[in-house]
């Protein structure tokens, strides 16, 4: 059971002002239906389950960045109080190799979650399981490890790093970019860097694993239940159906919680070896090295333009770091290639192996650093030409996708520029850097655009109309704060015709109908479509029964259809009975109506479905068919820079965003603001700092890895300029979650340039770069 089902039973709103009936429809501002559980402490997150006989595991990690483990002395740990098991590469049970998230078969027959060969500092090499958490922590400190250390490549600037490996699939070219650049009257070229950043979700990674015979239950915060269940099934050689993933609430993911990781395998293995449920939660420092944050990136952006400001050529080269033994490509040209009408274009990208955990997805992987490059460069070009940076963007407005030469499905970017500029007061900006000030504070106004593709996939849901007239929705999709519980309740309520209060949505259990990954900002579009389809089918059954069942009060009416609204059934002309859904079901002797809906193509096989829900291989390209589909946004940001100290404060943000139709504006606005705030962190604060002697992240905690606090954030105004986009999703929405972070960092960098006359091309913009 999902804990927020209790809302009807034991929570009442002290304040009834929020919400009215219309809020429950799609597009209404319904408050979070999982809210009462979250604000009362009743919401049980995945690894907060209390199980009898629960043992506690703690990981031991490598303190070198490269080399081999010579020996692990576990004697002291094994004899420490309460210790049940000490796992090393030699003593952990055999785990099989598992396929990757694309469904590619494993490259190795076995998988070793505890390493003998160390390729990054913080890599897991041992684990201790004890009766209590405290005993496990104490014993883990007694594990003695000796190493044969070898020199590490600490980061992209390490002389040993080299130029890396070309990723040909990232190459994008049209026209003759080099020749057009050479011929252009105005040319700029600059290098832009982003650092290692971390998702830093407030809930750490962790899990509880329990075996019952050959059946495995995992309580783990997850952005992708079915994908992770597949991994566990393959690791332990049990059928997919034997693995149950439970994740009713997720304390933030931002891309980091979609995959089963090494510590996940260790927890499940130790539970099997002990015959007891095991809980393993990573410490906060381990959350910086047990999975990857955003890769550090380097880009050069070269633009040739005419004196009229029109771009004639873009030449773009990018590099991102990846791991010694893992591949991550952060697509650095994803915004560069589509934001502006560019007749000649060339982009190439390399990846460079360094001694780090393999980087991973963090909010808008690719689009985020890509926008920092191109949206800074276009600002530099505007300055060179003496053209207003907003005007510069309109001069080069892409009327269609310049990369694939297809029309946009919808692109309300011009509207976003107009709405944002007006609200921000952009017309009052004086163009010259250092021309606006308030006492000792230099004021800068910057603008930048952002975009994120509409990633599409297929989903499945069951909708039940129950005897009491309430509606139940089940799906193995998840809610990590995006509002899935709420928008699916709204979708079912509107489609069936009942109040949203009468809908209970159950998510986060892999026993429910399947769903793919909650990533790439695609879940809302996928799942509202699936619930709409299932709910429509349930409604059809309900109306069908009401018309055709001889016991129905509507039977004599011989109507073709009936109206279901607000939980009551009536004839279209209002000339017949008026009964509640519950009364109708009672009259025809049914205790429920149930419909499963999915958006898979017709004739899909069971294998197609399995592949769709457990891999990302079936994702539909955003340029498939006749259109190119993207969300768009424009950020207008004011900074205040202390003239003496170089400290930067963001003092005002107005962003106008096109995510198509919003299923719930209240929640979408919150997600947009959250993206903007994470972007402020990226621009001004966030940077994984590597100790160059040991290749170790030294600020691996929430006091030294700075994320924005409440005191860092001003009022933020967000404006929706979207229109329904039925090429993008069944109900007309486009992606919300990742869009708003894209373009924030360049808008701030551009504002800092306007304030100070200094162009910072190397994030984060810290004071020593300004004085």
């Amino acid at each position: 059971m999902t804990a927020h089902n209790i809302r009807h039973a034991n929570t009442r709103h002290a304040d009834s002002r929020h919400g009215d009936a219309s809020d429950g429809a799609v597009g209404g501002r319904l408050s979070r239906v999982d809210g009462p559980a979250k604000i009362t402490g009743a919401a049980k997150y995945a690894f907060e389950q209390q199980l009898d006989g629960l043992a506690h595991a703690v990981m031991v990690e490598a303190t070198i960045a490269a080399g081999t483990v010579r020996a692990i002395d576990t004697r002291a740990a094994e004899t420490a109080p309460g210790v049940l098991l000490v796992l090393t590469p030699d003593t952990i049970m055999e785990i099989k190799g598992a396929s990757d998230w694309l469904g590619n078969p494993p490259t190795q027959k076995t998988y070793s979650p505890l390493a003998r060969t160390v390729t990054y500092s913080g890599q897991h090499i041992a684990a201790v399981v004890a009766e209590t958490f405290e005993q496990a922590v104490a014993a883990a400190a007694l594990v003695e490890v000796s190493y044969d250390e070898t020199p590490a490549i600490v980061d992209l600037s390490d002389p040993k790093a080299g130029d890396g490996i070309p990723i040909d699939a990232m190459t994008k070219e049209w026209g003759d970019a080099e020749a057009a650049f050479a011929a252009a009257p105005l040319r700029i070229c600059a290098a832009y860097n982003t650092q290692r950043e971390y998702q830093a979700a407030m809930e750490p990674h962790g899990l509880i694993a329990r075996w019952q015979g050959e059946e495995l239950t995992i309580w783990e915060p997850s952005q992708w239940l079915d994908g992770m269940a597949r991994t566990y099934a393959e690791w332990f050689g049990v059928p997919f159906e034997n693995v149950r993933l439970v994740s009713p609430y997720i304390g933030g993911g931002f891309g980091s919680k979609a995959l089963a990781l090494a510590h996940s395998a260790v927890a499940a293995a130790s539970a099997k070896m002990l015959g007891r449920p095991v809980k393993l939660v990573l410490t906060r420092p381990q959350n910086f090295t047990s999975y990857g944050g955003r890769a550090a990136t380097r880009q050069t952006v070269t633009i040739g333009a005419g004196r009229d400001g029109k771009i004639q050529s873009i030449v773009h080269r990018g590099v991102n770091e990846t791991a010694i033994d893992g591949m991550w490509v952060e697509p650095l040209a994803s915004v560069t290639s589509i934001m502006y009408a560019t007749p000649n274009f060339s982009s190439k990208q390399n990846v460079v192996r360094v001694n780090t955990v393999v980087p991973g997805a963090k909010r808008a992987p690719g689009e985020n650093p890509s926008a920092f490059g191109i949206e800074s460069a276009i600002d530099e070009l505007a300055h060179e030409l003496g053209i207003d940076p907003l005007e510069m963007r309109l001069i080069n407005y892409a009327e269609e996708d310049p990369e694939v030469n297809k029309p946009w499905s919808t692109r309300q970017l011009r509207e976003a520029f107009a709405a944002g500029a007006e609200r921000f007061g952009w017309a009052r900006r004086t163009p010259k850097p250092r021309s606006m000030r308030d006492g000792k504070q230099l004021i800068g106004w910057g603008v930048a655009a952002g975009t994120y593709p509409v990633r599409r996939a297929y989903g499945e849901a069951v909708v039940r109309i129950l005897a009491d007239g309430s509606v139940e929705v089940e799906s193995s999709s998840i809610d990590m704060g995006q509002g899935t519980y709420t928008i699916l309740a709204q979708t079912a309520a509107e489609t069936v015709g009942v109040p949203a209060d009468d809908v209970v949505v159950k998510l986060g259990d892999s026993r429910y109908p399947r769903a793919g990954v909650a990533g790439g900002s695609r879940l809302a579009g996928v799942m509202t479509g699936a619930v709409y389809k299932a709910a429509t089918s349930a409604l059809d059954q309900l109306v069908g029964l009401a018309i055709s069942d001889p016991r129905s009060p509507f039977h004599a009416l011989q109507a073709n259809t009936l109206v279901v609204a607000n939980g009551r059934i009536t004839a279209p002309r209002g000339d017949g009975p008026d009964v509640s859904v519950a009364e109708l079901l009672a009259s025809v002797g049914r205790d429920r109506i149930e419909a499963t809906g999915d958006t898979m193509p017709a004739n899909s096989t069971a294998e197609d479905r399995y592949k769709n829900y457990t891999t990302i291989a079936t994702s539909v390209p955003h340029t498939e068919g006749d259109y190119s589909r993207h969300s768009w946004c424009a950020h207008f940001i004011e900074v205040r820079v202390d003239e003496d100290f170089g400290t930067v404060r963001v003092s005002r943000v107005v962003s106008a965003l096109d995510s198509g139709r919003l299923y719930n504006p209240k929640l979408a606005e919150s997600q947009w603001k959250g993206g903007i705030i994470m972007g402020i962190g990226q621009a001004l604060l966030e940077e994984g700092i590597v100790d160059r002697r040991h290749g170790r992240i030294v600020n691996n905690n929430l006091a030294d890895y700075l994320v924005p606090t409440n005191a860092d954030i001003p009022d933020i105004e967000v404006i929706s300029v979207g229109i329904p986009d039925l090429h993008s999703s069944v109900l007309g929405g486009k992606g919300v979650g990742e869009l708003a972070i894209v373009g924030v960092a360049p808008a701030i960098a551009n504002a800092v340039f306007h304030a100070t006359g200094k162009r910072v091309r190397d994030l984060p913009i810290t004071l020593e770069k300004l004085i």
């Binding site: 002290a14 304040d15 958490f133 407030m202 603001k673 929430l702 606090t709």
Partner: protein
Amino acid sequence: MIDQTKSTTIPLHLTINGHRHELEVEPRVTLLDALRDRLDLTGTKKGCDHGQCGACTVHVDGERVLACLTLAAQVEGRSITTIEGLAGADGTLSAVQAAFLEQDAFQCGYCTPGQIMSAVACIREGHAGSDEEIREYMAGNLCRCGAYPNIVAAVRQAALEVAS
């Protein structure tokens, strides 16, 4: 030096949300782990275990305290309030809780109990007089979803309600 070969426990009586709880734990058990692992009061969250994030904020004798930096043994005989003790016995939400819901002052919800406990104390301390003051006195509670502007709005709203 702690003797690593022995585990000793001590009996404790904790008064939490007006209820008396008896438990037998090692002296090194934090209030946070006592709440979450021994008493099934999982509303108080562990985000960092180092006093850096504020997710574990509870009230001890009415003042906000980080449960991860407090040993359970330190609070024996004192009055502890957690997020589970904030709503009325009939489930009526407190002014701060209702304001958080109305203002959408959370997304994932994991930092939320700590934010709410801090907000109640912030108002009680008289530090909710302006948005600037609220931002400053709520700055010890991190929210990675970025609900800060809505948290400020919720604290402002609740402070007005409490005052009236």
